[in-house]
Subunit: 203 residues, 2 copies
Amino acid sequence: MAKKDKDIITSSTEEKILEAARVVFTKKGFAGTRTRDIAELSGINLALLNYYFRSKEKLFKVVMIEKMQKLFGVISPALNDANTTLEQKVTLIVNLYADMLIKNPDLPIFVLRELNLNSEAFGSGFHPHKMLSDSFFVKQLKEKRPDENPLQFLISILGMIIFPFIAKPIFKKAIGSEKAFEIIINERRALIPKWVSAMLRTK
Amino acid sequence: MAKKDKDIITSSTEEKILEAARVVFTKKGFAGTRTRDIAELSGINLALLNYYFRSKEKLFKVVMIEKMQKLFGVISPALNDANTTLEQKVTLIVNLYADMLIKNPDLPIFVLRELNLNSEAFGSGFHPHKMLSDSFFVKQLKEKRPDENPLQFLISILGMIIFPFIAKPIFKKAIGSEKAFEIIINERRALIPKWVSAMLRTK
DNA sequence: ATTATTTTTAATCATTTGTTTAAATAAATT
DNA sequence: AATTTATTTAAACAAATGATTAAAAATAAT
């Protein structure tokens, strides 16, 4: 075969398509995206999309897997660190998410939008619920509060940090600018750990 | 004019279209919905959709306004009740949402999905952030905790109750059945008010 | 240098999709 | 009953869209 240093030669156009696909799919969703938008943004010929990725759906799946790993993978190391307390883990999780979501504010709505639209289409490989349920963090939650379902705390913690990014169109008008939104998020780095500690103490 | 008891005669087919539109738009989103799906589900001729609602977009807006009012309107009375304490209001809000969302579990993801996709297209009429910010509830929050932005509590309370419905595809696998999901939600009716009280006490 | 292979391009296809049209039917008005 | 108005239907339109094709250009192998 001629020209097959796949990772050097072809990665250029392939990566150009992927980069544009990330942007357009994230902004418009799978159904709202036209392959022509991706081609145009990446500056490549429309046919190349199918040449490299076979179909719109296959290209989308590549992006979707990436995004899911980004959204749920950030906290993976923090969840299973054997050398931190429950409270330290909460602080770490909140800050890891704050850092990442300020840089990728539309990541949560993208992933959850497509997961809700598509229920079953992404069974391939990645299981965030296992990552969470089997974690050392959940074990510590069980020890601290054997009387409560640890999932209840997990849902609340993730909700408090992720929800503002999903509900942004509502709160943004009450908040004002994008800068003001970031200030709110940054305040939550300290607030949420404090709140969670208080929640864990309630009887 | 002949035949123009609009609320009696035409409401039948018009309402049939609307009912189907609610179902299909909610399930597939605006971009993922085909007008033919709505026509088929409602059992009417395709052309009637444009006859009654002019366009897919206009029909969608009717549904969207409805859904936004449903999502943000439920708690409107509770927010401005002058005869309840802050803690009582939290309990009321949580229960009003639990009742409504168990019956309409895909309402939050629908509204927030479309608001995020469409940023500006729904400036018409309904302003949830005003309803929240100008409420008696927020005034009470300010009195109780003048040191904190009341929005921080508001975001957390709404996040804790609404987020599980948005993140359901993730947690559902960890939870199991639909019944188990409802049990989790019902437990939160008591948990969240207790948690919020603890949060309000933190210094 | 010649040949084979990979990549890119422009044009086109076949469907899908929102909307319209013109005729038919039903209902109301006179 | 005759006429006008409103509703419904089947068919079709025009534009959009995901995908393919066949030829050209670029690159690699011999």
